[in-house]
């Protein structure tokens, strides 16, 4: 894998972003904590990361290729490394992740950081390339046998880290752990909803697995689900149980677990018998690095400092406003790739003034979204044109974003009898405070009396779903890149992410039909849905932020991957 590979991959957004404490929120907390017991307001203050300025004149340490102990920290500034001739084997690479893991069992978590680490240890039937395409991994090929049945052919001669062969039976066992009830030592996997309803999984010889679904499901949905479910060794899991697997994970991925706990650090070592991964993601073969270490560094400024000090090679979870501190440092490389977390302002469509469509449209006309993307987010975001993001299947490219047109906005407000503006409170979580302040400022320019209120997310979420909020800044992950994964939960009546409390019987019906329709029919239905949603404007359509990571310039052949993965199978460390 070379640097030239297009960085167009996208990610699975955080299932739940790990809580990080910003300086401001920590101050608030510190004060409150002195006062007494945790209160609601105290809890509301503690999400989101904020950067702290770092000095730029620092030294980045090199990493010795000797794997045994951590490299010494040099006291002299190092020259900018020259590009080495070719990939080099060896070395230990340290990645700073943003939160601790939920589990080391790939079937027993719903967390993106956990997946980042576990997908270095475990492979799945299929995987997603940085360009977004789903390609074979452990599966060699697949075909649809009938509308509800799929057959996967397993790549032969794959072994797990403990030498156990990977067969159709292990695949069946692994998928059943997720898809069926009570398979994790009597409990059900929290990842169950990632797979479509499965009736049966059958094997045919050692290399064929048939998945029988309860109802027809688009190929994209089934495959996207399989991307997020990894294969585990049956005999091993049966002997040690799910608890044993979570203590000592064994997979068939590029790196084998050496030691560590969910609290970190986690040490992995190259698996020499690795089958090489997806042939669609060359080069194929065992990794070059001897070891990979994942270190939990929750605070953003500490991650950046660790990167500058040479203690870590790759830092995840960088925010756009922190880039100024590292972008000019020749020893640090910043890479971003389009994310899949859609953001929008949900307007409460059940209460005045947002029960009127023209007011909701006015809010879309009155916000200069592109200016915020360009100036505040440094261009590191993709604009939402309507309710379906551009990377999604069935995205209707004919839809153009609402133009920034304050006059039109004012005219629409006047038509709604709001020529003198109205009082608007935008509610948001701490992490989004600065961006929402800017949005409020733009609305004030329209004559709207806009202000911002900050909450802890679970508190805000519940209040919004009860209809107790006017407008909230919200987001929803669309990892499957299919409208079903985004619109059904957020804009169908009663959806668990329907913060706009939007209820349109026609949209409900169309969404239900589209979910089971043929590809061409689905395309037609989703085009219609997008048109309705665009005009109805239950949201102010915002953007999909890029995922940003930073690395030492010594790391070669690395790129941030989709699903928050760091693709380390082909990474190597240049000599300083």
């Amino acid at each position: 894998m070379t640097e030239q590979r297009l960085l167009s991959g996208q990610d699975v957004p955080a299932l739940q972003r790990g809580p990080t404490l910003s300086r401001r929120s920590m101050l608030r907390w510190a004060i409150a904590a002195v006062n007494s017991v945790a209160t609601v307001s105290l809890l509301s203050a503690c999400r989101g990361a904020e950067p702290t300025p770092l000095p730029t004149a620092t030294v980045v340490a090199g990493e010795s290729p000797v794997p045994t102990v951590q490299a010494p920290i040099p006291t002299e500034p190092l020259p900018t490394p020259t590009v080495a001739a070719g990939p080099k084997r060896g070395g230990r690479l340290v990645v700073a992740i943003t939160s601790q893991l939920q589990s080391l069992d790939p079937a027993n978590h719903r967390d993106r950081v956990t997946e980042t680490v576990l997908r270095c240890i475990f492979d799945g039937l299929v995987t997603r390339r940085p360009d977004g395409k789903i390609v074979p991994e452990i599966a060699e090929s697949w075909q649809q046998v009938n509308p509800t049945e799929w057959e996967f052919r397993i790549r032969p001669n794959i072994v797990f880290h403990n030498g156990e062969p990977l067969t159709a039976e292990t695949v069946r066992f692994s998928l059943e752990r997720v898809a069926f009830e009570g398979k994790l030592d009597g409990e059900t996997s929290p990842r169950r909803s990632l797979l479509p309803p499965i009736v049966a999984i059958e094997t045919d010889g050692d290399l064929r697995v048939r998945i029988k679904l309860a109802n027809p499901v688009p190929e994209a949905i089934l495959l996207a689900g399989l991307v997020h479910n990894q294969i585990v060794p049956k005999n091993y899991v049966e002997s040690v149980g799910s608890v044993g697997l979570a203590e000592r994970p064994i997979g068939a991925g590029p790196f084998a677990f050496v030691q560590g706990t969910v609290e970190g650090p986690i040490i992995l070592r190259r698996f020499e018998q690795y089958y090489g991964g997806s042939p669609d993601m060359p080069p194929v073969g065992p990794p070059l690095l001897d070891e990979v270490v994942f270190r939990v560094v929750p605070e953003l400024s500490a991650r950046l400092a660790a990167l500058k000090a040479g203690e870590v090679h790759i830092a995840q979870g960088i925010t756009p406003d922190a880039l100024a501190q590292i972008e000019n440092d020749p020893r640090i490389v910043v890479r971003s790739y389009p994310g899949t977390r859609t953001t929008w302002l949900a307007m409460n469509t059940t209460k005045a003034p947002f029960d009127r469509r023209e007011v909701r449209q006015a809010m879309n006309y009155g916000l200069d979204v592109q200016a915020i993307i360009d100036r505040v987010l440094g261009g590191r975001a993709v604009r939402m044109r309507g309710a379906v993001p551009p990377f999604s299947q069935h995205f209707d490219a004919r839809i153009q974003p609402y133009p920034f047109d304050p006059d039109r906005a004012k005219q629409l407000l006047a038509e709604a009898g709001l020529a003198n503006g109205f009082q608007l409170i935008i509610d948001a979580a701490e992490a989004d405070r600065s961006i929402v302040e800017i949005i409020a400022q733009q609305y004030r320019a329209l004559g709207i009396d806009a202000s911002v209120r900050i909450w802890e997310w679970p508190v805000l979420r519940e209040a919004a779903l009860k209809g107790e909020r006017q407008m909230i800044f919200a987001s929803w992950g669309n990892a499957f890149r299919h409208p079903v994964d985004l619109l059904n939960p957020t804009l169908m009546t009663g959806g668990r992410g329907n913060y706009a409390l939007y209820s349109n019987p026609e949209v409900d019906r169309l969404l239900e039909e589209a979910a089971v329709a043929s590809e061409t029919e689905a395309a037609r239905l989703y085009a219609r849905i997008q048109q309705i949603l665009y005009e109805d404007a239950p949201w102010v359509f915002l953007w999909i932020p890029d995922e940003i990571e930073a690395a030492s310039s010594l790391v070669e052949g690395w790129q941030p991957g989709p699903d928050g993965r760091v693709l380390l199978a082909d990474a190597w460390l240049a000599s300083p």
């Binding site: 957004p13 955080a14 299932l15 739940q16 809580p19 990080t20 404490l21 300086r23 920590m26 101050l27 907390w29 510190a30 904590a33 002195v34 017991v37 809890l43 503690c46 770092l54 620092t58 340490a61 102990v69 951590q70 939160s99 601790q100 939920q102 589990s103 719903r110 967390d111 409990e187 059900t188 929290p190 169950r192 909803s193 990632l194 609290e263 970190g264 650090p265 270190r295 939990v296 560094v297 929750p298 605070e299 400024s301 500490a302 400092a305 660790a306 500058k308 000090a309 203690e311 802890e456 679970p458 508190v459 992950g477 669309n478 990892a479 499957f480 059904n488 939960p489 668990r496 992410g497």
Partner: protein
């Protein structure tokens, strides 16, 4: 005499046990009063999760039962010594606590040592030469120390000492791969016990910045209290008498005045353990220190109820225990005081 003391200790322990359970019950209700459900939060803002599956998971974790049934189950398990199972991590709460407690104890001890090492000389010197330049400067510094938020100090230290000068590591407990054999879980102690000098140096290096960050505000408070109680003591008749007898000035200050001035300072140190535990939540996050503080923060955000209940019980226990030790220290400092 001894039996009276034993009875008092047993009484205290029983009281503490009741207090721990009472506070766990209080937290049980407060946490559930907060909006947000752990299973719903685990599913996040993401994808199309059917409500039936969320309900099924809530049933699986017993979260669907009436509150008093849940409380009854919790208390019943508590009596058996079972603190429950984390919803998010699917691990026993006592395991989570035991995995992280040593890190927090090590950091808190480090902070106390830093606090005492700074506060005692500053307090004594400021009191002895009170109103001098030394006194004014050190009191000004302690004033800053009291008002300085720990996260700010921590980040400044990381940026200057770790990133800029590269003298000490940015965070973590020890260099990866150097972990000493587990005996107490305190890396410094374990490296000493196993004679592992490499691990000892590494863990001490990692301990310095977080201990300073956590200990600085305590040092500031302690120095100010010690100064005023030293001033009081130095003005007492017994000090005048000692001086009149012609005792060496050092003896007067350290033996007669300092020892008596220690009682209020010890009280403050005991109470400050509370703020140490609170400060841990912030300092452990800044320094990537895998302790109880971070577990608390993470569990509150995730609404991982039983973990928060467990953590709070540990906090109560530590707080009461430390203050009990403070009471015992009184009897040593002043034999006229009894338990």
């Amino acid at each position: 005499m001894r039996s009276v003391r034993t009875v008092r200790i047993v009484e205290r322990l029983l009281e503490t046990g009741f207090l721990m359970v009472a506070i766990a019950i209080f937290v049980f209700f407060v946490m559930r009063y907060l909006p947000g459900d752990p299973v719903d939060l685990i599913m996040g803002q993401e994808g199309n999760v059917p409500q039936e599956q969320i309900d099924a998971l809530r049933r699986q974790y017993g979260l669907d039962q009436p509150l008093f049934v849940q409380l009854g189950n919790y208390l019943r398990n508590l009596v058996r010594g079972d603190l429950g199972t984390s919803v998010v991590q699917r691990r026993a709460v006592h395991e989570l606590l035991l995995a992280r407690l040593p890190a927090t104890i090590e950091l808190s001890l480090g902070a106390i040592i830093v606090a005492v090492v700074i506060a005692v000389p500053v307090g004594v010197v400021s009191a002895y030469w009170h109103n001098s330049a030394v006194d004014r400067v050190s009191m000004a510094i302690t004033f800053i120390g009291v008002s300085m938020p720990p996260f700010w100090l921590g980040i400044v230290l990381i940026i200057v000492v770790s990133a800029q000068w590269q003298l000490l590591p940015v965070g973590g407990r020890i260099e990866i791969g150097l972990e000493p054999a587990q005996i107490t879980g305190l890396y410094v102690v374990d490296s000493l016990l196993t004679g592992n000098s490499q691990a000892l140096f590494s863990s001490l290096k990692h301990l310095i910045l977080p201990s300073v960050t956590l200990g600085a505000p305590v040092a500031a408070v302690l120095a100010r209290v010690l100064r005023s109680s030293m001033l009081d003591a130095l003005a007492q008749d017994y000090v005048r008498l000692a001086r009149a007898k012609g005792a060496d000035e050092l003896i007067v200050v350290l033996k007669h005045a300092f020892r008596n001035a220690l009682i209020p300072s010890t009280t403050i140190l005991g109470l400050e353990v509370g703020s140490l535990l609170g400060g841990n939540m912030i300092v452990e996050t800044v320094f990537s220190w895998p302790g109880i503080g971070r577990l608390t923060v993470e569990s509150i955000f995730a609404r991982d109820y039983v973990v928060v209940q467990g953590v709070v019980m540990v906090y109560v226990f530590i707080f009461v225990l430390v203050n009990f030790l403070v009471d015992i220290a009184y009897t040593l400092l002043n034999p006229r005081i009894t338990l």
